[in-house]
């Protein structure tokens, strides 16, 4: 029995997760640093194994596993997000009473689940991966066991997530009844055949939409981001989006282009994108808690990514995900750095004057916020530009106009944070413990990534085009 090489990156992450959990249980040591180092090594090994398969489109388990370039790229994004999260949690966990070995074990399991989602062309396996991610995510959300908000968030996430999972299975059952296959190609081929197929696809999209936090399935996101440990909230803001949007664009790419726009599901997705852009941005305007603000911001970014999916443009979607990895997680790194033993500072008022008191955090956070808002010369601008021009080429002009207008609204709430940091008197009682090298490293890497992708995107775009060509 020979094992296909396509399994190795996933296997390393999954068994690494089990090893970390067992080491934590039997090690009985107070310091969690060895676990963090081991997790980083596992993630790096998995990334190397995945990278070596670039350009070869490996398959495994009778085609159930499909490690094409797009899957490799998204796996890389997920692994990098997990590695950043490990670095962010390193010190933060000890300060905020969340120093459990499960942080690393469950994080690796969640990453493995998302890799399963990305590395398949079979919807049942997608569901399997989604559940592996979700079950780990519920645990990660409630990690601060003595915190009421964390427990509330975990229960909410669990109930709504299970509900969404049931929706998805129902949709899959209908689709399987119609064409006796879970394959994405076969499923997409039967979409034009009538109402039941549309219904099944609709349920499937509702399930996926919950996980991607698309409006109207977004209600859980702000509460979960607020209750979850800050590094984990950063992981939630990018990793599930990368895997979920890849699945979605695989589905869309498998539908013939001329059929796609005639399907009743197209206006449904169109409306979801419009609602996500509007509600995500308008709700963010009212937030004073930066974790909730970033939650709504990530919802609105999901709306922009949905434009790329609707336009059927894989390259701009993957580029957007790559940029969002750096600016989203970078912003959460800034929030993570603003902590002291026993408390963290995530309210807008806590950031008053922070730009002068903590110049490095303030300056980098400013660049990342400008990137989130879409100012040139950052990666955020180029990503939005690529998505919007793809949208115009695909004839989605009203949606693109809405996207541009809501981006302008978004500038208001991002700038409000910058204004607070540089134009208000320092807040009394804010006293962070600045010695947090791993979190500052992530912050710095976020800055590098955002500028690299904004100023010299050619190399990366080359890889991303190659990956997008392999989506289908």
């Amino acid at each position: 029995m020979t094992l296909p090489t396509a399994v190795f990156p996933l296997a390393v992450t999954a068994f690494g997760a089990i090893a970390v959990l067992l080491l934590d249980a039997f090690g009985k040591r107070d310091s969690k640093t060895p676990l963090a180092v081991l997790s980083l090594m596992i993630l790096a090994a998995s990334a190397v194994l995945a990278g070596r398969l670039w350009g070869r489109s490996a398959f495994g388990f009778g085609g159930l596993m499909r490690l094409d370039d797009a899957a490799i790229l998204v796996s890389m994004i997920v692994l990098l997000a997990a590695a950043f999260t490990v670095l962010l949690g390193w010190q933060w966990n000890r300060r905020l009473d969340a120093a459990f070995g499960e942080f690393y074990g469950l994080l690796l399991l969640a990453a493995a689940g998302l890799m399963i989602m990305a590395q398949t062309a079979d919807l049942l396996v997608v569901f399997l991966g989604l559940e592996v991610f979700s079950v780990s995510a519920y645990g990660l959300t409630g990690l601060k066991r003595n915190d009421d908000k964390a427990s509330e968030a975990a229960v909410k996430y669990f109930l709504i997530g299970s509900f969404a999972g049931a929706f998805m299975v129902f949709g899959l059952a209908i689709l399987f009844g119609l064409n006796e296959s879970f394959g994405i190609t076969q499923t997409a081929a039967c979409l034009g055949t009538g109402l039941p197929a549309q219904l099944g696809f609709g349920f499937l999209l509702a399930g996926l939409g919950f996980k991607l936090a698309l409006v109207p399935f977004h209600m859980w996101a702000p509460d979960v981001y607020e209750g979850a440990p800050t590094p984990i909230a950063g992981f939630f803001s990018i990793a599930p989006k990368a895997a979920g949007f890849l699945v979605l664009s695989r589905l869309v790419a498998a539908v013939p282009k001329d059929v796609w726009k005639g399907l009743p599901i197209f206006p449904f997705l169109y409306a979801v994108a419009a609602a996500t852009l509007i509600i995500g941005n308008l709700a963010a305007l009212r937030q004073k808690n930066l974790k909730r603000l970033l939650a709504y911001s990530s919802i609105s970014h999901a709306g922009t990514m949905l434009i790329a999916v609707l336009a059927g443009d894989g390259a701009s979607l993957l580029f957007y995900l790559a940029v969002y990895l750096f600016m989203g997680l970078g912003a959460f790194a800034a929030l993570t750095a603003m902590s002291a033993p026993g408390r963290e500072y995530v309210h807008l008022d806590d950031f008053a004057g922070a730009g002068f008191r903590y110049p490095w955090i303030g300056a980098i956070f400013t660049v990342l916020l400008l990137s989130l808002a879409g100012f040139p010369p950052t990666g955020g601008f180029l990503a939005k530009f690529l998505v919007f021009s793809a949208g115009v080429r695909a004839g989605l002009v009203p949606l693109v106009v809405l996207g541009v207008v809501t981006s302008l609204i978004a500038v208001a709430y991002y700038l409000r944070v910058i204004v607070a940091m540089y134009m208000r008197d320092p807040a009394p009682g804010v006293d962070i413990e600045a010695e947090n090298p791993p979190a500052l490293l992530v912050l710095f890497l976020g800055l590098v990534g955002v500028l690299q992708l904004g100023l010299f995107p050619a190399n990366i775009l080359h890889f991303i085009r190659q990956a997008a060509a392999s989506i289908f």
Partner: protein, 115 residues
């Protein structure tokens, strides 16, 4: 496919009919303070509702689930073991090892210490 549409329509219609008939024919609901009590039998209550019980029972339920799903997987495996032999045995040993790791984790974390 039309059968699917028709069955959806029929079931939806039936559900609507049952609900509306119930509302039309049923007695009008009148509120009574006795209805608001925890026990609707009219006698005054002797104690406060159900007493809280240890949350540890939920852990037992989880561990039961771990081994229960395992059993559900063993049955179809046993049926085809004679046909596939070696690889099937290897796969199941592998699977059981993962489950055993889960059990060992729970044990080491003190899931079986009741106090």
């Amino acid at each position: 496919m039309t059968a699917l549409v028709v069955s959806f329509a029929v079931f939806g219609f039936l559900a609507l009919v049952m609900l509306s008939v119930n509302a039309a024919l049923g007695p009008r609901r009148r509120s009574n303070p006795a209805q608001q009590t925890r026990f609707e039998c009219g006698s005054p209550e002797l104690q406060e509702g159900i007493r809280p019980f240890p949350v540890k029972f939920s852990l037992v339920a989880f561990l039961f689930l771990l081994l229960d799903v395992e059993a559900a997987f063993y049955f179809p495996w046993a049926l085809i073991l004679r046909e596939i032999k070696g690889p099937a045995l290897a796969a199941m040993i592998f699977y059981t090892a993962i489950l055993a790791a889960g059990l060992a984790y729970a044990w080491a974390k003190g899931a079986f210490d009741w106090d």
